[in-house]
Amino acid sequence: MTTITRQPDPPVAGQPEPIEVVNAMVAYEGRPVLRSVTFTAPRGKLVGIIGPNGAGKSTLLKAILGLIRLDSGSVRVFGQPLNKVRSRVAYVPQTEAVDWDFPVTAMDVVLMGSYASLGLFGRPGAKEHAAAKTALDQVGMTKYAKRHIRRLSGGQQQRVFLARALCQQADVLLLDEPFAGVDAATEKTIFALMDRLTAEGKTLLVVNHDLSVLDRFDLLMLLNQQIMAFGPTEEVATDDNLRLTYGGRLSLLDRADDTLKHAGPEMRDD
């Protein structure tokens, strides 16, 4: 296995890394989805996470966000447990995760980004509205601010989700398949925006399944339950690494887990 764990940039002294995952393991119903995942996402980098279906890409994002409990290992954000820095981390889920018939406009959804820092009883005021307007403008959706979300195209819905994360003014953004079902224009807008965000020093983790845009990422993580390779894109995106990542699971490990769970045929003595 050619796991590349070289750090592209040495960490700045005294500044904790935005995301540090050590030995993270997650299992669903006794079946591991992530096995001992260890990596560091440095400041100001666009990190692509790719891998086949069921490789645990979304699970990794959710584990970082604390939405899924780790069975072992740890996640630290800016050197601290997530709960202390939650509002500095924004999450952009897949668009099919919500009900688009919900009675809200594009602006309403974007404004929800401000709830992260408002707490339970806070109300968005002039400052939050201004932030939401700026965010809508950054994704080129100002024209559609008052439109009901059902009447937006797939690409526009994705932009609204992105604008909500921008409105949160987080330093770390975790995006789950932001390019799924979007048009070419939206893809261009999103990449341009991502470049600007990383230039501002923000760190972006992007789950992606489209292999044709790999060179847009600064760093690449090839994931298939465990990290198959991680490092600068030009070093990691080799045919060998991709074949290794997409060329089937570590089937013996899966079978071992099945055996332990169901006491399958491999367990019998005869």
């Binding site: 999450y91 995760a97 406009t105 709830y115 909500r164």
Partner: protein
Amino acid sequence: MIELLGQVEMDFSQWLAPFSDRWWQETLCSALVGVACGVLGCFVVLRRMALIGDALAHAVLPGVVIAFMLTHSSGVVGLLLGALLAGLTTAVLVNLVSRFSRTKEDSSIGIVFTALFALGIVLISALPRGVHFDLKCFLFGDPLAVGTADLWMMAIIAPLVILIVVLLYHPMKISSFDPVVAAAMGLPVVLLHYLLMGMLSATVVAGLKTTGVILVVAMVITPASAAYQLTNRFWVMLVLSGVFGALSAALGMSVAFVTNAPTGPAMVLVAAGLFTLAVIFSPSHGLVFDRIRRWKLNLHIQSEDVLKAVYRLTESDTPRTVNSVAEDASMGVSRVRSMIDRLRTRGMMIADPNRVELTPKGESRAVQMIRSHRLWESYLVERAQQDVSSVHDIAERLEHAHGLADEVAAHLGHPQFDPQGKPIPPKPGE
């Protein structure tokens, strides 16, 4: 059951006369509960929890009976505590059953609430002799059984629920729309869910004696569903739903007294009536406005077709009569006549019995149509890879969207000729 239904007939005239002080108090309190039901209903409807609303209402029975057994009275505080406990038990049990067994959520709701309801009925039959528990009142509601303590309970719970929703409006909104992101932001999504369940149980109990267990779910989901037809803003939906809830309760009380019908069913029927009206008159999906929109679009298309026919006939120097225009536009003569009238009032056409002419304004509109048609044909061939022979019919329809013609032209780089080589007229004023 039939025997039970037979007992529902009531006589209000004795001491709850219409417009007496007592009647006003009860109507006002019911309206308050109606607002609370309507407001909570929005969350129930949007989170697709209608079934769990029904379940809560039914599951309240064992809680109420146990409270009754322990306190030996239908005291309001015991009732409320029993109901809250039962409601939260239901929510937790449903969650446990669907998580730890191979049971989908709707089935686990069905299993849990029927079991709890059955338990309640068994408990009633186990009550000591001489202790009377009025099941009928519990099932169908009975405004005569509403005591002063019940009125106080309604008058306190309903405003309290409304206040909580106002205070927690934003977190409740995002955890209904996008619970995963809400949780990622650190909002207490699970706690808010159980708070909603708790408020729902309390409100159901408050409305129980007037509406009854079987129908109270209607007061939760029907006004909210009606409001959902009418708006695309969440806060407007909450306000409308609250208003519908209050209206249903107040009108229901009045109808019940006038017709001597039980109040619960009367309220539910009013709510259902409001819902029906909302479905018919909804501005975005309603049947009426949809018809009007289609009718207007048809008028627009037909009048433009007549305009174009007159322009074509003028170009080929054919005499323009109503009949020749009708033939060219392949429309009925009377239809063409009414379109000509329409165009004349808009200053686009001059018409006397023998002759139809375009005014300069009409002519410029007709040129605009032709420009739009030819641009759309070019677009279809070039960008949508359509066959040249098939684009005419599609463009016949698309040309009426002439507001987009300039965008199409810009998109194609301002072509001079359409795919058949016919000239595309320039933009008016160029």
